[in-house]
Amino acid sequence: MIVGARHAVPLPANYSIQPTLNHTPMPDIVDIAVGADNFKTLVTAVQAAGLVETLKSPGPFTVFAPTDEAFAKLPAGTIQTLVQNIPQLTRILTYHVVAGKLTQAELAKLGVVTSIEGSPIPIDTTEGFEVKNATVVAAEYRSGQLA
């Protein structure tokens, strides 16, 4: 959940898996996330925030998607507070979304991207592939497949 922003993410960051979801016309990001097994919390949060339609719009978007395991590491109450406050949840979720369809190589070249929320997201590829302080282990889901 934290991949997106340097100064704006109230959630811890040590996620083991941070796949990048790339929007493609069919199926869309939401369908891909729903289809994958490890994004159940994210999908629930996106639905609660009413962002399904936004993410299904033409975009394209790149989403840094925290896994269920990442959400599970958050202290008790963190998700509850966010789900009770939809504008705040929406803001947190939009930290994780970048406009455009960006591959791992393109992200590495850019070095830093700006989230829809407005905060910068640094990309570090000196050793592995890190988005802010989260290590990406499964990059680029497209059409439900790991690219």
Binding site: L11, N14, N85, P87, Q88
Partner: protein, 434 residues
């Protein structure tokens, strides 16, 4: 989240920083305050003594922001109406959004008792208690608010302050000002002549709301820590720090907003829908403005700005509790002293006994508790540093040495702020500092 974690000493060479020992302690999941039973007893006792007046501060800050608003003669702004004493805290009581404290949501019983009888322990009209200064000292809370307003421009945390300059904010404020002074041609005339002055007052009101919403969370956090200590389930300083870290994350997404009520009508000057959050728009700016920076203590010491005794840049200000020389502060009647006076009324018995046996006993209890408060705020600052490390960097038990080195650089950069001679970090390492 930050449970007991073994130090990464085998992975990294020892730090060569002036505060290497403290850095190694932070890397091992500890606090800047050494883990001793005496420190734990002191900080928990003072958190409890702080939480009771804080229960008044947050209620009154919201009352001023929401109801008193631009009253040109706010003589009774510290006279909290029953409605605000009964205002349910969102993080305590049965109906809590998230129950942080097991206790009640309305005003704390010790607070209500003190408001009724005061230090004199006599029932008198409220006005007499007020004029005798036998009351909760809101001036301290307002000084903290002013620090946030004054330093807000350049702290780099959150989006709250920038929003105060937006056209949207100005439009919202204008609606509220016109509604508040409806039927008052004199004030509306002044508003037409000096619109910026009124707008600046509304900005200050927005910071009243910001700080009120911030402290609404901290009071139940401190009450719960005190209860856990009393029942024996909080036994070390790092446990106390971790409770704060977890609390910071749990409440991080709490909305920060500013609503004004004119009669029954609510004017949303900063709507909840802006998405402002407790952590980024309130807690982090608060720590920076109040713990670190504030402004030179007036009335205790003369400063010569031309001789660079006051820094050129606000970011270098260092007059917060982490740097305070508590002795002159505790004798001069300025806002931090007023907080000490407020805490004095609500000390748990074990802390009163502790102070009586040390230094000058009851005669310098304000100074002793002020230094305890300083210790306790080094622990809160440690929680903030660990929370930031968690959010921005890597776990303490990360197997990657490059990540651990990034954590160390972060800790070292944080502790660089305590290298200046005024900082009390060295002092709180010693138990004899009282």
């Amino acid at each position: 989240m930050t449970q007991t974690i073994s130090p990464p000493s085998q992975t990294l060479p020892p730090s060569t920083h002036e505060f290497a020992e403290i850095i190694h302690r932070l890397e091992a999941g500890g606090s800047m305050l050494p883990d001793t039973p005496e420190n734990l007893m002191q900080i928990i006792g003072i958190y409890k003594a702080y939480a009771v007046p804080m229960d008044f501060y947050w209620r009154d800050l919201l009352y001023i922001a929401e109801r008193v608003f631009l009253n040109p003669l706010p003589a009774f702004k510290y006279f909290l109406p029953q409605e605000y004493l009964d205002l349910p805290n969102h993080y305590a009581g049965d109906g809590a959004d998230l129950r942080v404290w097991r206790g009640r949501a309305t005003a704390h019983p010790e607070l209500l008792e003190f408001m009724e009888k005061g230090e004199m322990n006599r029932r008198m009209p409220k006005l007499l208690h007020h004029l005798w200064h036998d009351r909760i000292n809101m001036e301290f809370a307002e000084e903290c608010m002013r620090s946030m307003l004054w330093h807000g421009r350049d702290m780099g945390w959150g989006k709250f302050d920038a929003y105060l300059d937006s056209e949207e904010y100005k439009t919202n404020a204008d609606r509220a000002i016109r509604a508040y002074f409806k039927g008052n041609p004199a004030m509306l005339g002044l508003y037409a002549l000096f619109p910026e002055m009124f707008l600046e007052q509304v900005r200050e009101m927005s910071y009243y709301s910001n700080l009120g919403l911030f402290w609404e969370v901290m009071a139940p956090v401190f009450f719960e820590m005190s209860d856990r200590y009393d029942e024996g389930s909080m036994t070390t300083v790092p446990e106390a720090m971790d409770f704060l870290v977890n609390g910071i994350f749990a409440i991080a997404g709490r909305p920060i907003y500013h609503h004004v009520y004119v009669g029954d009508e609510c004017y949303e000057i900063i709507p909840k829908s802006k998405g402002f959050t407790w952590l980024y728009e309130a807690a982090l700016p608060y720590v920076e403005a109040v713990f670190y920076r504030t402004s030179p203590f007036r009335g205790t010491k003369s400063y010569n700005a031309q001789a660079k005794q006051v820094p050129d840049d606000q970011k270098d200000f260092h007059y917060g509790i982490l740097y305070a020389d508590v002795f002159p502060v505790g004798t001069a009647g300025i806002p931090p002293t007023l907080l000490m006076q407020d805490m004095l009324h609500f000390l748990p018995p074990y802390l009163v006994d502790y102070y009586k046996q040390r230094c000058r006993g009851e005669d310098d209890m304000l100074i002793q508790l002020g230094i305890t408060f300083q210790r306790s705020m080094y622990n809160v600052t440690s929680a903030v540093i660990q929370a930031l490390r968690t959010a921005l960097l890597y776990p303490l038990d990360d197997p990657n040495p490059r990540h651990l080195m990034a954590n160390r650089r972060f800790f070292e950069a944080q502790l660089d702020r305590f290298k200046r001679p005024e900082a009390r970090l060295r002092d709180v390492q010693r138990q004899e500092y009282r």
